[in-house]
Point group: C2
Chain length 364, copies 2
Amino acid sequence: MANPSILILAGDGIGPEVMAEVKKIIGWYDAKRGITFDVSEDLVGGCAYDKHGTPLHDDTMAKAQEVDCVLLGAVGGPKYDNLDFSVKPERGLLRLRKEMDLYSNLRPAQCFDALADFSSLKKEVVAGLDIVIVRELTSGVYFGEPRGIFTEGNERVGINTQRYTESEIARVARSAFEMARRRNNKVCSMEKANVMESGILWRQVVQEIHDKEYPDVELSHMYADAGAMQLCRWPKQFDVIVTDNLFGDLLSDAAAMLTGSLGMLPSASLGAPMANGRPKALYEPVHGSAPDIAGQGKANPIACVLSFAMALRYSFDLGDEATRLEQAVEKVLAEGVRTADLMGPESGTPVSTSAMGDAIVAAL
Amino acid sequence: MANPSILILAGDGIGPEVMAEVKKIIGWYDAKRGITFDVSEDLVGGCAYDKHGTPLHDDTMAKAQEVDCVLLGAVGGPKYDNLDFSVKPERGLLRLRKEMDLYSNLRPAQCFDALADFSSLKKEVVAGLDIVIVRELTSGVYFGEPRGIFTEGNERVGINTQRYTESEIARVARSAFEMARRRNNKVCSMEKANVMESGILWRQVVQEIHDKEYPDVELSHMYADAGAMQLCRWPKQFDVIVTDNLFGDLLSDAAAMLTGSLGMLPSASLGAPMANGRPKALYEPVHGSAPDIAGQGKANPIACVLSFAMALRYSFDLGDEATRLEQAVEKVLAEGVRTADLMGPESGTPVSTSAMGDAIVAAL
Ligand SMILES: CC(C)[C@H](C(=O)O)[C@@H](O)C(=O)O
Ligand SMILES: CC(C)[C@H](C(=O)O)[C@@H](O)C(=O)O
């Protein structure tokens, strides 16, 4: 049987730096555990635009469709801010999500014990926090038509369309209920059904899927604005949150920041099973390309490393290995190894991106 | 000259209770300061539906158009959860906003010194916080067409339309820049220009209005997801935030919760100047109808009282009286008078809604 395959798209900014550390870990699995991945690499985002004039070349898209999973670093940077909308770095990422049909974006918001002090929230509000936001990723206002800037009379009008079909809602709801069954069996669905008809349909379909297929899971509904409030007030009330693409974008970013562990948080974007039974999948850190610190060896590679751990678990059925890697990260943190983002003002000298990667490999 | 006129729409849940305290204050202004308002009252939300089968009767709508300002309590409650979308309590509020054309929703997020401990955020993160979110209130996905639930093939599709014209963006941008000039001269505009064309237009128009009319104000742009993060991380970096209807809904709720002063926060929704030079205006607390504590005398009337203070300032040019009322509230808080929401677990007996109102009147 062929080795499992991974396409690495390190992207822009700190992407290549944090991905270099993941490559060390992939190397360790090969050398020490006899788990060998076929790794190929390619460009996405600004660097792809620089080379090809497009943030995602068709050949790269084709490769992404063939591999077992994609690992992505980050895309974007000020250099590309004034590019036309159609070739912005983000379009590369959005094209991958859409064409691979990665409808279920899992975003854990977890507070690492060693870092509870870094949250802007009080320690008791975040310590031990462990929730997952399941964000719909291939539809909604991100992709709905009509869209664009038009002229009406003598002025411009900007239009986007929020659009959800029943089956789009149903499949991401299932994904959330499955996730809840593996956790604390509780799902909270968020929309604005008091204002938007698409929210009414969302609520109805989530409820129907629950009643028919997952009656054992505890389900509640919350308006997204109240959800934003409750995440800030007492995030531990949640287990799994399921929400649409746009609300998921804001709510998961807020939740990630609240943990104090932004540089630590991985994500998985999953689609339907392929012929080999594995889901189409892309893994990436929640943080962005951080152009302000790029190239300085300051970035924290842990979010990217933990994204690879998610790949071990969800793409390669190597849950034990994923746990091993997660524990290695925890060990390193417990030992006090810290990149700059994990340090208070007067707590000594931070380690470099590369030293953090080495420490994780050593802990493995 | 006729007395200034106010239409009170107390609404549902705790609305009538908190509004009763505002009426005491209106009475005090009449008796003690010779400032007499013509006050009329009517129904909105669930109580209007109960009486008329609609959450806002046409006669009420007509009255709202004639008065100098509307004071609203809150709408909604579980009793009305299963009503048809078109007659839900919220539709009454949305109709008022739309037909009065109240495009600029001012939502201060302020941390009251006496309450800094109530925030889920660390004290140093929120103490002294004083920002204003200017939310567009009459357009965007709340009102865009087409909208509804349709059948396509053999499944349902939920559709809403995000739609912004140049002039809709321009007028709320001006409102934000004006506000900034009266404060710390800084505006941050939030959208998702990396994903939505309506966000691109938003960013362009805000920048154009800035460059042409308000070059003295410091302007920055931020993606709304990053904005949600930054509000949670270090809200004091902001002065005035301007954003669209839907983002404003989530961001202002999160910001309000972060202050720890949710039961304290007022809002103003302003439109174009009327014939008498006063803006069309509606004032309401940021909190909702809180059905769980309705009718028990537990509600905190301060948000509603401070909404009336905003009315004094923005509708009646009585800035000094507004300040007097705000200071009375601060005095009462400093004296330790507390409704239940403002108390820690072991800090004594809370006062009732009515006792809080009396204390404020006494402090005046
Ligand atoms: C980069 C951007 C297009 C993207 C999004 O809006 O989805 C990002 O914010 C995210 O959350 O992954
Ligand atoms: C009640 C509801 C329609 C309303 C909104 O979504 O605008 C509320 O959440 C608000 O923020 O005033």
